[in-house]
């Protein structure tokens, strides 16, 4: 399955909505901690939602490098390509 980055980003925005309690307008530059004010557990719950939606494995080890929504989208794209 190949999906381009825009398509993945759109799906990630949808998955992120339940965590967007402040009702911010989501962009690739939206930060999980600074903008959405998610704690580490909320970020991990969001990652679990991504794993199940795309049927992929997202290791916790890569979380420190994923500060913005766009970075998650790029990581998902790479994982989908690699599998």
């Amino acid at each position: 399955m190949t999906q381009d980055n825009n398509e993945i980003l759109t799906q990630i925005f949808t998955l992120l909505e339940p965590f967007n309690t402040k009702g911010l307008e989501l962009t690739a530059d939206t930060s999980f901690t600074t903008d959405l004010e998610l704690d580490s557990l909320a970020v991990m719950d969001f990652v679990a939602a991504i794993e199940d939606h795309f049927d992929i494995t997202v290791p916790l080890n890569i979380l420190p490098d994923l500060e913005k929504v766009g970075q998650v989208s790029a990581a998902v794209e790479k994982i989908l390509k690699d599998q």
Binding site: D39, S40, L41, A48, T57, N61
Partner: protein, 410 residues
């Protein structure tokens, strides 16, 4: 760009500064005098201790104290060395023999704390090409063991064998020959809920994964001879590694791992949190050895769970929103907002009852909890007094169910 190394802690510092000053601040409490396993002097006041995890009340057990005293006098205050250098005394080996006897396993390895046991075993067992799958509600020591190691770490939904199965299937699809370690806890400390070990072990075995169970909060408490949840659910033969601590039911400090794996002993030569720290002092080793013998030969579990049921039922009857049912030694009251939870804790300590204030992100479901841990050493009179104080503070703060209903309809 800042040069201040402490700037990143500003949010935490501001939260701490917002807490009430004086005796209502849970982070400044100190026990001025310890009277017994269940009572201390705090803020000059006799206080019931109901947040100590002292499940068996072993801290003042006469035989355990006598064993520690004798070891102190005959072997000194500390070993001043690591287990792999000068830190292995005969008594350390005797304690490991006692653990093997207690669990009926071929191997046992003692660490200086329970935290280090998880840190060491998880980070050492799972190497760069391996996978660790952990329960989402895992203790910090499990998360830290994963962070210290080089394995790929995956988190599955709390106590959900189907979710574990789904994630293990994905791992096996992309890496059919990888080494996999599944890590769960027998009892989760915040809400006292037990893992469905039978199902979790079956799923792990189906995917040819090892399974490690942390029985920190279940040793002494569950199972016919107090070995924990694996024994209680009759699945010990399915579990590859059991980790535990001496700092709860055993009443002192230290950690351990037991296993039947034929190559287990090599861990003594490759596990850094075992190799590069001083071993437990002889007095601690002696009291742990004695306490294990007492736990195996007595049944304090029934009294402990009776106590827990009484407190849980009593709190629910008063009208508290409970996160627990009394089937484990934890009683957790859920308070809706964080400020009320902090204030409630402050009022309770002023009334002479010490419990744990547990707040997100350390709690499941972002709950604000007043977490009580019961002991077999608590008397029914103490529990009834706790109930009286909880009711008093609950009514004063308007957090009982009938008060909330009244507020909603007003």
């Amino acid at each position: 760009m800042t040069t201040d190394l402490f700037e990143k802690f500003d949010t935490t510092l501001n939260h701490f500064r917002a807490l009430p000053e004086g005796e209502g601040n849970p982070f400044t409490v100190s026990m001025e005098k310890i009277l017994s396993p269940t009572e201390a002097i705090i803020n000059g006041r006799k206080t019931i201790l109901a947040g100590t995890n002292n499940y068996m009340g072993m801290t003042f057990n006469e035989d355990a104290v006598a064993a520690a005293q004798e070891a102190l006098l005959t072997q000194g205050t500390g070993t001043t060395g690591s287990r792999v250098l000068n830190g292995t005394y005969h008594s350390h080996k005797k304690l490991e023999e006692e653990l093997k006897k207690f669990y009926g396993t071929k191997h046992a390895m003692v660490f200086s704390t329970g935290y280090q046991a998880n840190l060491g075993i998880i980070s050492t067992l799972a190497g760069p090409k391996d996978y660790v799958l952990i329960d989402a509600d895992s203790h910090a020591s499990i998360y830290d063991g994963c962070a210290m190691g080089n394995a790929t770490v995956i988190r599955f939904t709390h106590n959900d064998p189907e979710n574990l199965d789904k994630r293990l299937t994905r791992v096996r699809r992309q890496d059919p020959d990888a080494g996999i370690l599944v890590v769960v806890e027998g009892v989760y400390s915040m809400l006292g809920d037990q893992a469905p070990l039978k199902e979790l072990a079956a799923v792990s075995k189906k995917h040819n994964a090892y399974i490690l169970v942390d029985e920190a909060h279940s040793i002494g408490v569950f199972g016919k001879t107090g070995r924990g949840v694996a024994q209680a659910q009759g699945v010990e033969d399915q579990i590859d590694f059991i980790v535990g601590t001496f700092s709860k039911s055993v009443g002192t400090i230290g950690g351990y791992c037991v296993s039947n794996h034929p190559k287990f002993e090599v861990l003594r030569l490759v596990c850094r949190p075992y190799m590069f720290t001083a071993s437990l002092p002889p007095s601690v080793v002696a009291s742990a050895t004695k306490a294990l013998q007492i736990i195996a030969s007595t049944n304090l579990r029934e009294k402990l769970l009776d106590n827990s049921m009484r407190l849980n039922k009593g709190l629910a009857d008063i009208g508290f929103n409970m996160g627990t049912t009394g089937e484990s030694p934890i009683a957790a009251v859920i308070i809706d907002d964080i400020q009320t939870a902090i204030a409630f804790w402050g009022e309770l300590i002023k009334e002479g009852v010490y419990v744990n204030l547990a707040l997100p992100p350390a709690t499941p479901n972002n709950y604000n909890l007043l977490r009580c841990s019961l002991s077999a050493a608590h008397s029914f009179e103490q529990i009834d007094l706790m109930l009286e104080k909880f009711k008093l503070v609950g009514e004063r703060m308007g957090v009982l169910k009938q008060d909330l209903r009244r507020l909603q309809t007003a």
